[in-house]
Amino acid sequence: MDGEVILLDAYASMFGMRLRIALAEKGVKYEYREENLPKKSPFLFQMNPIHKKVPVLIHNGKPICESLIALQYIDEVWHDKNPLLPSDPYKRAQARLWADFVDQKVHTLGRKTWSAKGEEQEAAKKEFIEALKVLEGELGEKPYFGGEEFGYVDVALIPFYSWFHAYETCGNFKIGTQCPKFVAWTKRSMQRESVSKSLADPEKVYDFFLILKKHFGVE
């Protein structure tokens, strides 16, 4: 019925976590295959020759790469249960835009909080908090970015929470105290089984992060 679903992933990948959450929300049975980053398997290169990255969703032998594209694919194929994107075209456009904001700002700036040095790092930390505050503004008084229901933007964003411990430790700053509304939303989201089961443990993420840092030669 669901067909053969394989998720090529890495435990600490926030992009992979998105797909784990979505598949859990939809109740889809799948085979999870861990990639041993930074060493990549030939199978990964075969499934994602262009970007050579995880996650890759493989449905009935056909690969879907890029997490937001795979997220939309999951939502369209398993459209009957827990829809992630709203049905109204305008609201869908807004959701797509905010998911893109998460990729452009939260991810890029989050990475800079540990990879940059000196003034550049300080600027990145400040901009990262500002980006979270913009998201707080968008959330407003709603329980989720999707409104009453946990949705597309929530799925796109919540995995980054598992990386906050790594960002805070490396960047020597506190995120939660500056963004209380954001913290409240993360707690609410973590109450969902799909999220609590899919998110990587922050300590394990930090360990992986240290390996990554060494691999990229950042001290």
């Binding site: 262009i50 056909k62 594209i69 305008y90 456009a93």
Partner: protein, 224 residues
């Protein structure tokens, strides 16, 4: 705000913006009448309309439908396809996997091709220029492989990925002049596809003159 509500569909864009051309071509393909508002991107200061309608990114294109703004060209294309659906030609295919493929190559165009061509136009020195030129040609060849022997990226019909990529063709003359090569020799199938697209009213109406596009980019990238 009052001005934007006069028309049901308004497009705020710049004549030389490839991302905006996509939006205009999509509307033309669907036969949707729209009011065009030019935003002068050669002026670093953004207009109040853009600041009001797109406060987060402050960029164009912006589609304003019934007074509500939709931003980001890919999101706008999907909005256009979803809003003007029944009785209109479709941009995205029906099958979820085909849709994922169209979105994947759109992401490739937006994130790889766009930055490679910027790097190519910006490059200083013969070696850097040659390297980035080869990278750009390589990426165009990858897209050509996706096209295969089909008429369009959408198969028999002009579709989403065609709309996404065709605006770049207005800079092909510029790339050729800058890099001293002929795209027809490097990517013959892609060149045929460009000719096929240019035969469409929507594309002919929206795409600017190639020489003017190159002059615009020369100024922007500081090319002699």
């Amino acid at each position: 705000m009052r001005e934007a509500n006069n028309s049901s569909v308004v497009v705020v864009d710049f004549w030389g913006n490839g991302f905006g051309m996509r939006v205009r071509i999509a509307l033309e393909e669907k036969g949707i009448k729209y009011e065009y508002r030019e935003e002068d991107l050669t002026n670093p200061q953004r207009s109040q309309l853009v600041l009001d309608m797109n406060p987060v990114r402050k960029s164009v294109p912006i589609l304003i439908h019934r007074g509500q703004p939709v931003c980001d060209s890919a999101a706008i294309l999907e909005y256009i396809d979803e809003t003007w659906k029944d009785g209109f030609p479709s941009l995205l295919p029906r099958d979820p996997y085909d849709r994922a493929i169209a979105r994947f190559w759109t992401d490739f165009v937006d994130n790889k091709v766009f930055s490679t061509q910027a790097m190519f136009l910006r490059s200083k020195g013969d070696r850097a220029k040659e390297e980035s030129k080869n990278e750009l040609i390589g990426e165009l060849k990858q897209l050509e492989a996706v096209l295969g022997d089909e008429q369009y990226f959408g198969g028999a019909n002009f579709g989403y990925l065609d709309v996404v990529l065709i605006p770049f063709s207005s800079m092909f003359y510029g790339y050729e002049s800058h890099g001293n090569f002929k795209l027809e020799e490097e990517c013959p199938k892609l060149s045929d596809w460009v000719k096929r697209c240019l035969a469409r009213d929507s594309v002919r109406k929206v795409l600017p003159d190639s020489v003017e596009m190159y002059e615009l980019h020369k100024k922007f990238y500081g090319i002699e």
